[in-house]
């Protein structure tokens, strides 16, 4: 308790203008920034995977399994920042057992479980079933038993059985696309439905969240594909990379248009909160919104991706361009989540002043915890890649 009081006294000295006395504490910290960021990566990665499966974009096939595993790795971690943030984490399961159905947050548990268990796990299992069965029969020792359990002790991999797997898998993916939209659109609704907060309250919020999710997820899988290829010392399929880059550009243009529309709408309407929001954008969010999110995280990657579309660029130059665009995109989308979550709490609901937020290095909601929560899914992904090699199909190993 002393720690929070110490921080609050520090904040008190930095309050600008008038805020309600209870508003000095900023309630949703960096952990709640991570939550939409991570869920967005999941939804985006899944949508990239479904490009191949549902929309028949064969060029992105080398990333299909990688995208699914990425989605799973990040989805497993997605509820963690939320639970750590709770005042009473031991009561977290009440959200599932005794949900209050009018609450957008209460539904998250169900959307999450639906997406994790029904969509992602089933789809990955069906896709890997043949590999698992082969491994269960060829591996030795404890690994053999693990793979046998994963195969659910059913080893039928006749062409008919595999065809059925494929059919069901396709059906699951078709359900998966709207589910991915639901997962992240719903996260947007958690913020967009708060009428008390004019920075959040917007019907565009869920749509913006969906498209920004696609942007971040596609960028992430693109980067992972490049990095994994370098680590494995295999040639990057430029046709695949170009296609991913193209879809990234499309998603980005829609996302940026929506966000611009939202901003224009706010400027034109200029409602009671506009004065405070304009000060927020030009003041406290100046660097994270205008410079990091819009300039570096949106305009630069869109320009890089567009150049590749407009003029012929050599593959040796295209690769670093894609890599830079991907990295900047992730930074930009993270900044976008930051600006929504933290930005939405910096101004007073009296619209007369601002509080402040200082990211601590250590502590429950510090930078180290956040960094650990970002690194954890990468480790899980490495384990998943080890257990379920996603490259078997195309390299014929």
């Amino acid at each position: 308790m002393d720690e929070i009081i110490r921080v609050l006294f520090e904040y008190l000295g930095k309050v600008q203008g008038f805020i309600y006395p209870n508003e000095i504490e900023l309630h949703w910290s960096i952990l709640i920034v991570l939550y939409p960021f991570i869920t967005g990566l999941v939804a985006g990665a899944f949508i990239l995977a479904s490009l191949e499966r549902v929309f028949n974009v064969k060029e992105v096939k080398p990333t299909y399994r990688l995208a699914l595993l990425t989605a799973l790795a990040f989805l497993l971690i997605a509820p963690m920042p939320l639970n750590i943030h709770l005042g009473h984490p031991e009561r977290a399961l009440e959200i599932l057992f005794t949900p209050h159905l009018s609450s957008a947050m209460a539904i998250f548990g169900f959307v999450y479980i639906w997406y994790l268990m029904v969509v992602l796990v089933v789809e990955i299992w069906l896709d890997y079933r043949k590999d698992i069965v082969i491994l269960a029969q060829s591996e030795k020792g404890i690994k053999k038993y693990i793979y046998q359990a994963m195969a659910l002790w059913s080893y039928n991999i006749s062409p008919e059985a595999l065809e059925l797997d494929d059919k069901i898998g396709k059906f699951v993916t078709i359900i998966g696309v709207p589910s991915a939209f639901l997962l992240h659109g719903y996260v947007g609704f958690i913020f967009g439905s708060i009428k008390a907060n004019p920075w959040w309250s917007s019907p565009l919020m869920p749509v913006i969240f969906i498209f920004s999710a696609m942007v971040s997820g596609i960028a992430l899988v693109m980067l992972i594909y490049m990095i994994v290829s370098w680590l494995r010392k295999v040639v990057i399929d430029m046709n695949c990379l170009d296609t991913i880059g193209r879809y990234l550009l499309y998603a980005f243009i829609i996302d940026f248009s929506l966000e611009t529309l939202d901003l224009i709408h706010r400027f034109y309407e200029s409602n009671e909160a506009f004065g405070a929001l304009a000060m927020l954008m030009s003041g406290k969010l100046h660097i994270s919104l205008l410079i990091v999110q819009i300039a570096l995280g949106t305009l630069v990657p869109i320009t890089l991706l567009s150049i590749i579309q407009l003029i012929k660029v050599k593959p040796e130059i295209r690769k670093p361009m894609y890599f830079s665009a991907g990295m900047l995109t992730l930074i930009g989308i993270f900044a976008m989540r930051w600006n929504v979550v933290i930005g939405g709490q910096l101004f007073s609901k009296s619209f007369r002043g601002f509080t402040t937020y200082k990211l601590e290095l250590i502590g429950k909601e510090g930078l180290m915890t956040a960094a650990a929560l970002i690194i954890l899914p990468v480790i899980i992904l490495a384990v998943l890649i080890y257990l379920f090699p996603p490259f078997a199909k195309e390299t014929g190993e």
Partner: protein
């Protein structure tokens, strides 16, 4: 009958035990209220609907209400946690508006506005608005915050998971996270008092009767008379929350 000392002590001990148990039972009346049984048997929850009036022209900004509330409800003493607070507004000649609420007004407003050109000045007490359509209740993922049948919004401390969604959803800044209990906390309209026929602490101590409370279902109640006799406004009416905290003499600068 003759008792030796040992037998006497045995019987006396039993009496003490029974007496003590009865006392514990009495103390547990509050628990009984939580369990759905009325604290006061004469209190009829269905015939009550609580409303609260604030007369801005009367408030002198002494801050006694803030102090009384903190003491009555064990609100943490630090200047970041308030179930009620008082804001001071000063309108300058050029139309500029100055607002402050140092320590929620608990220590009063001893310092004067340095600016001489003040044309208008008033104090505005604030509490939870006990809305008819409370956004905090709507968003609570586990139903830990709820509205009682007699119109008071409360928090179940044993159920709240501390997600703070309700704090985000409240347009009035009426909620905070209790730094020790890690649950959401806010004005309960002194529910433990009003259901016993007592006044909320803030109303009780107000020296100028700027705060009144009463039953909206009773046409002869003080609050009903207050509503009927005056021009009344509520905070942020455009949000559709329908507050049951009614202000008399509210200036346009008050949000």
């Amino acid at each position: 009958m003759k008792y030796n000392r040992k037998e006497f002590l045995k019987i006396a001990g039993k009496f003490v035990l029974i007496g003590g148990f009865a006392k514990i039972l009495k103390a547990n009346k509050l628990f009984a209220a939580v369990a759905g049984k009325p604290v006061n048997k004469e209190y009829d929850i269905k015939s009550n609907l609580w409303g609260y009036g604030i007369d801005i022209s009367k408030c002198i900004g002494c801050g006694r209400c803030v102090d009384a509330c903190k003491k009555e409800n064990n609100v943490p003493k630090e200047p970041f946690f308030f179930r009620t607070w008082v804001e001071r507004y000063g309108i300058l000649e050029n139309g500029e508006v100055k607002v402050d609420s140092p320590n929620g007004g608990l220590n009063g407003f001893t310092d004067k506005y340095k600016d001489e050109k003040l044309v208008k000045k008033y104090f505005v007490p604030k509490i939870c608005n006990h809305c008819e359509h409370p956004p905090c209740v709507q968003v609570c993922p586990v139903g830990a915050t709820y509205t009682t049948p007699d119109g008071v919004t409360l928090v179940d401390r044993k159920y709240c998971i501390g997600c703070r969604y309700c704090i985000q959803a409240c347009p009035y800044g009426a909620r905070y996270l209790h730094p020790k209990l890690h649950v959401a906390d806010k004005c309960s309209l002194c529910y433990h008092r009003i259901t016993k026929g007592l006044l909320p602490a803030c109303v009780e101590v107000c020296p100028v009767k700027a705060r009144i409370v009463g039953n909206l279902k009773d046409p002869n109640s003080e609050i009903k008379k207050f509503l009927n006799a005056n021009d009344i406004q509520v905070l942020k009416p455009h949000l559709g929350t329908k507050p049951k905290i009614y202000y008399k003499g509210m200036d346009k600068e008050i949000f």
